[in-house]
Symmetry: C2
């Protein structure tokens, strides 16, 4: 049958995406065999609109640029530091590194750079791997007493023989800008300090209640909000239950009224859980733990994992290539959560300095 010159069929809406995550971006008018399932629009005429796949490798996901948000936070921090300087206050952050862990050293140098760019004075305390518990405690006590210093970050992991919790808990809560001591954790879990998740300016009736929020999960929440991700009512799945990330992040997402599922190494069918996630946060430290087939179409994926490859490259826990084809928003590694974590550390330090005036 010859193609009629004036055969008008309404153009159907293009499908958003085919099942294998591939976009359609054009259409043709051509004869389609009866019973064809090649996307015909259901018209029973011999000529039909059909959608033709033209872009086979289009990534759906928008990148969540942590760097960009971090720059905004740091520029805000810089202003506050200048104001404090004008009041005769020099803002100080102590950084305590025990031993020579390469990723801790990398993190340290990134923080030093960020301090410099915002006008915060950094104080490095480097102790040998062989340092005793008493030496570490004395260093913390010294920092606690030092009025020049408003915040202290201890790098993890500490040597195995050291009781990390004892060190962290010896930091004065008002200087615990990483928020991992049991007192800030308790204020946070009891929702006494979670007001900070809602607004920077709001102060609770009892100002003593201020306990700093852990920087990494706090940064994740900030990043989600920066990209207008609605948290309330969504199903957030967190992989990892560490004290520094997975657990506090789960509690923060719960405070923000997400339905929260926490998965970990004992979870039986991880993919079954991740496929339910509107928001998936991965903080394990296992290469390619999460792949595209484990993701719901349009999910928001936050990769908090850090894995150093043999060639020195740093990658996350999420297989970016396959996951970015299904997610609507995804963080890169590096340049995702990392820079925001550092920015939140500086913000907490400035808050501490302000509270001490």
């Amino acid at each position: 049958m010859a193609k009629p010159s004036k055969f008008v069929i309404p153009r159907p809406d293009p499908p958003n995406k085919s099942e294998d995550g591939i976009y359609t971006a054009g259409f043709l008018l051509e004869p389609v065999p009866e019973g064809s399932n090649r996307g015909d629009c259901g018209n029973d005429k011999p000529y039909r609109w059909i959608w033709v796949i033209t872009c086979a490798e289009v990534s759906l996901a928008k990148i969540m640029e942590g760097k960009k948000l971090a720059e905004e936070i740091k520029s805000n921090v810089k202003q506050k530091v200048e104001t404090l300087n004008g009041m005769g206050v020099d803002v100080g952050l102590a950084l305590m590194l025990v031993g020579n862990n390469p990723s801790s050293r990398q993190y340290l140098s990134a923080i030093l750079k960020a301090c410099k760019s915002t006008g915060i004075t950094s104080y490095e305390y480097r102790l040998p791997e062989s340092a005793t518990m008493n030496e570490l405690l004395n260093t913390v006590h010294e920092i606690n007493r030092d009025e020049r210093i408003h915040g202290l970050l201890v790098f993890f992991p500490l040597p195995r023989r050291i009781n990390s919790r004892k060190i962290v808990n010896s930091i004065l809560p008002e200087k615990d800008v990483d928020g991992l001591g049991s007192i800030p954790i308790g204020k946070f879990a009891a929702e006494e300090s979670t007001f900070q998740l809602y607004s920077d300016s709001y102060r609770p009736a009892i100002t003593q209640s201020l306990g700093f929020l852990p920087c990494t999960p706090f940064g994740v929440i900030k990043l989600l909000e920066y990209y207008n991700v609605e948290i309330k009512g969504k199903h957030a799945v967190v992989i990892g239950k560490s004290l520094a990330v997975g657990k506090p992040l789960s509690l923060m997402l719960l405070t923000k009224e997400a339905t929260v599922t926490v998965c970990h190494k004992e979870t039986k069918d991880l993919a079954d859980m991740t496929r339910q996630a509107d928001i998936l946060c991965v903080a394990v430290g296992k290469l390619a733990l999460v792949t595209g087939d484990m993701i719901k179409d349009g999910a928001v994926v936050v990769d908090i994992g850090i894995n150093v490859l043999e060639n020195g490259c740093v990658v996350g826990d999420v297989d970016f290539e396959s996951v970015s084809k299904k997610a609507s928003l995804i963080t890169p590694v590096p340049g995702g959560v990392g820079p925001v974590t550092i920015a939140m550390l500086l913000e907490n330090t400035v808050k501490s300095a302000k509270a001490r005036i």
Copy 2:
């Protein structure tokens, strides 16, 4: 067609349970119309085995008798109290009730009875609804200083104008036997005090780390363990995220290595979540929130809800009749979690007295 006298078809395995939760307990040999879906065994002969429903109201669930476990714990407490008495220590528990809330009064009288039966001396502090914040704080300070008293329970809800967190946080952590102050919550969330979930006898290297675990969720864990419910690797769904129950229970289940999902009023499809639960814990205070159709076959269901009906009867959040037909284990209300909560309060009080020797 006449029924042949020697027409042998292998007898199929009986279905465990039909979809509506009804047991099959017999079978018949009879003609079945072609295309019938009445449980035919797929044999293409005109005569087939079909399963006949004979028991329509069989309950599958075994009851988790909280009362029984509570009696065991209290008998253990009684022995410890006697030992302490022999050392010249009288174990004391203070109970602070503000106003006249009927369910608090009911709870108070149950605790008084339990104290009497175990030899713990109770000290009642009843304040009027109109009591000021300062009066409440002074009462707590008085109790904190009183060497006769090893534990203090404040009944909730406090009058609305009172900042409950300030009251709870004014209790000395070592006397906070309900474990809801931000210090014990923090020690618990930071996994410094969670060793108590594993063994009564084990003491951590740093004994100062002892913070009491909140009684209700602690009691739920004890009850699950009493009935040999495996928690590790199971999917536990908790409905409710209150500070007293839902949130600490979720953290405890996480410590015990369950995959944990926390649902609440913002959860979009509650039934979709509950149907995934191997262990379902409900702590909302909403009558018949959970019904049989929301339960996975063989799930363990813990009902922590308390609802007082017009006729004065107390029921939980779970529709016992329909849920007990699908669950493998279920707590009744009353007589489930409630008595265990009180037993745990007494156990924490004795622990406090022992730690003070």
